[in-house]
């Protein structure tokens, strides 16, 4: 017996819509759960004062500094490196076995667990290069960790720029680099920004790669060679060592809100850029 297409259509809508609603519910549950437990602790005092007694009391100010500075330095290093690499791979090289191997390699690197990067950073940056547990070592490790993501998302964005734009640009006497600068990068920007945003999100939430390389000092850093603790690491230590559940959730709530603000700001900036170009 054939099933009436109208019934299968109805079934499809229920399954597809149901999946979406379920996903949204799970997300909403997690966020509400953490905010509900964490927000009562969060106030100006909590955000602006130093932790006391290993974090049992006091605020989380130094970890906010750490959470800002590590990803910022990491992205300042990784973004230009990654974008330049992706431009070179997609615009300046012919498709050969070598480029395929490079692409396969970056895909593999993107899938490696972050703790491996943490161990690498510990052995290479902290020990071999004698950086110690420091902002520098932590940022470099994070940069290495997000580089594959930035390269691959940028490359996809660059490949998605219509081929005719390149042809027209060349036909008007532009050089390869002028075409990249004036046509390809501006048109690929939304995709590149998406990759950078993903990377910021991963860096901010990262614990394994950071705890081995930036350490977990609760002091406010003054140089690039000082150790810092990020909010994610702080949360991990507070919860793991059973120091303070309340402050752990407070930290988590702050982290979630921070990520939300960063994402909203980035999309707002990008939309403004697109609107300005027309």
């Amino acid at each position: 017996m054939r099933i009436n297409p109208r019934h299968t259509q109805k079934g499809a809508v229920i399954i597809l819509g149901g999946a979406t609603i379920l996903v949204l519910l799970i997300l909403a549950f997690i966020i509400i759960f953490i905010l509900e437990k964490g927000l009562p602790v969060v106030n100006l005092q909590f955000l602006s004062s130093k932790p006391r007694d290993l974090g049992r009391a006091g605020g989380i100010f130094p970890t906010i500094i750490g959470t800002i500075i590590l990803p910022v330095v990491a992205l300042l290093i990784a973004t230009p490196l990654g974008v330049f690499t992706s431009v070179y791979l997609s615009e300046y090289t012919k498709e050969t076995t070598l480029t395929k191997v490079i692409r396969f390699g970056t895909d593999c690197l993107a899938g490696i667990p972050s703790i491996i990067f943490g161990l690498f950073g510990y052995i290479f940056f902290v020990i071999t290069l004698q950086m110690g547990w420091s902002i520098l070592a932590g940022s470099l490790t994070l940069a290495v960790m997000v580089l594959p993501t930035i390269i691959r998302t940028s490359e996809e964005a660059i490949r998605a720029v219509p081929k005719v734009y390149r042809e027209v640009s060349f036909s008007l006497g532009a050089s390869g680099w002028q075409t990249v600068k004036k046509v390809i990068l501006p048109n690929a920007l939304p995709g590149i920004v998406t990759g950078v945003m993903l990377s910021i999100g991963r860096s901010i939430g990262e614990t394994a790669a950071v705890i081995f390389t930036a350490g977990s000092s609760l002091r406010i850093p003054t140089t690039a060679f000082d150790s810092v603790r990020t909010m994610a690491v702080h949360f991990y230590i507070l919860a793991r060592e059973g120091i303070s559940q309340e402050n752990a959730y407070g930290t988590a709530a702050t982290l979630i809100i921070a990520v939300l603000i960063i994402n909203l700001t980035a999309y707002w900036l990008m939309n403004r850029f697109i609107a300005r170009r027309g």
Binding site: V164, V168, S169, S171, L172, G173, A174, K182, R277, G278
Partner: protein, 258 residues
């Protein structure tokens, strides 16, 4: 006498040109003159190599990996495939209008001055003048003069194509290559672009590839008929369309083929 001398001046000359895409032999010893301030049309069925030949004239085929070219293409007295020819300079002298209107996703003004900017010009006043002159040259100044900052993508298709012509005029090319420039336009817009071509031919040398035989007979002075990568016949447009020498040409013109 001076007049006849000027009339037979070759702006470009293709001599024994062979082109391979990898192993595919796309053009076989093609020769053709391109006369100054005239319109030369290339006709033939799909895949005959007419667009490929057109793209040899400003080396756009260089962008396709695996392309190999032998033979000569002379611009004035210089081989454009020779060592001394800088390809960016060549493309400023031999410009191109593409099949589909393809303005950049920028404002109308930024589209027109793109070629100037990549050539290193920064003087705003001079660029304003060139933009106005180019848009007038493409017969669209009155239509766009009040909305130069608007996105070019919001223009109707035929105005977009004219903008592409204006963008090209801004870099003052000597030769304009047109690759089926009207195939995305309706008949009225096509007629306008054809009129524009006749006007442009007073100052520029034009080579046009077209699917449309009527278009070739309406606008061109010379016509080349191509088939399977070979130039079957090249002559005065009148001769090609009234008494072609080759049987293959006649079959195509009369609609028995293609």
């Amino acid at each position: 006498m001076a007049n006849t001398m000027a009339e037979i001046k070759n702006k470009m000359r293709v001599e024994g040109l062979d082109l391979y895409y990898g192993k595919f032999h796309a053009l076989t010893s093609v020769s053709m003159p391109v006369q100054e301030n005239k319109i030369t049309a290339l006709i033939g069925p799909s895949g005959c190599g007419k667009s490929t030949l057109l793209r040899c004239l400003n080396r756009m085929n260089d962008l396709i990996p695996g392309t190999k070219v032998t033979g000569q293409v002379m611009l004035d007295d210089q081989d454009i495939y020779g060592q001394a020819m800088e390809v960016t300079d060549l493309r400023k002298r031999v410009g191109m209008v593409f099949q589909r209107p393809n303005p950049f996703p920028l404002s109308i003004y930024e589209n027109v001055v793109y070629g100037l900017k990549v050539a290193g010009f920064r003087n705003r006043k001079m660029m304003d003048e060139v933009a106005e002159r180019s848009l007038k040259g493409a017969w669209m100044w009155d239509y766009v003069k009040d909305k130069l900052d608007q996105s070019a993508l919001e223009l109707p298709l035929d105005q977009q194509q004219r903008l592409c012509i204006a963008r090209l005029l801004a870099i003052e090319p000597e030769v304009i290559l047109m690759d089926e420039p009207c195939s995305a336009l309706d008949p009225i817009a096509t007629m306008k672009v054809e009129e524009l071509m006749l006007e442009l031919a007073k100052n520029y040398t034009i080579v046009i590839v077209t699917h449309n035989m009527q278009q070739a007979s309406r606008v061109s002075d010379y016509t080349g008929y191509m088939l399977l990568g070979k130039m079957i016949e090249f002559n005065d447009t009148r001769v090609i369309f009234t008494k072609p020498k080759e049987k293959l040409t006649e079959e195509y013109i009369s609609g028995k083929y293609g």
